[in-house]
């Protein structure tokens, strides 16, 4: 159980993020929740590639040749940049909404109904 601590932390982070998305009533808090889910998923991807007592897969002056799995790190790099891009778009959308609705409360931002 204690060996799988990273995966438990991942599950906890994703659950906290989802809780924030589904239960919070403020748009900014929902976007924080989405960002939390993204960082949880990134941690999950990185933790998948770890091998016990291995080093980063870089040959420049490497102390040993037992190396971690590199593909997952490339995927996480892409996922992080996608997270940044999504966050930038979501926040600028909330800024536009605040300019016209003068509120970020989910219950008030509902002109599109029915």
């Amino acid at each position: 159980m204690i060996d799988n601590l990273p995966f438990l932390v991942v599950a906890g982070t994703i659950m906290i993020g989802l809780y924030a998305i589904l239960m919070k009533k403020d748009l900014i808090k929902m976007i924080m929740g989405i960002s939390l889910v993204e960082s949880g998923v990134n941690l999950f991807l990185i933790a998948l590639g770890y091998r016990w007592d291995s080093i980063a897969p870089i040959f420049t002056g490497a102390p040993s040749l037992a190396m971690v799995m590199p593909t997952v790190q490339a995927l996480t790099l892409t996922s992080i940049v996608i997270g940044v891009a999504t966050l930038a778009l979501l926040l600028s959308l909330v800024m536009v909404i605040y300019r016209y609705y003068h509120t970020t409360d989910v219950r008030k931002v509902t002109k599109l109904q029915g």
Partner: protein, 95 residues
Amino acid sequence: MMRSKAVWFTLVVLAGGLFFAAVSLPFGNPAMSDMDDYFIVHGQEQTGANNIVTSIVFDFRGFDTLGEACVLFTAVSGVAVLFRHRKKGEDYEYE
């Protein structure tokens, strides 16, 4: 009231799935690693880069990085479109 019960149900189901996955996945010794070992062994020879992760990001899976640069470019154009100076009367009055 109905909505919050449904929300709690989805949260509990997802929590169960994730924790079961977290427990049953072996951390530290992955089940199969033939593709990654290929990258580590042949990375320097085929791409000439010491940093295997960069050789994957820009050569073995370079197409993902092109897609990712597009994601950033989409976000920039999206933000530029949202904060542009609009002429008067462009907004359609939604009643």
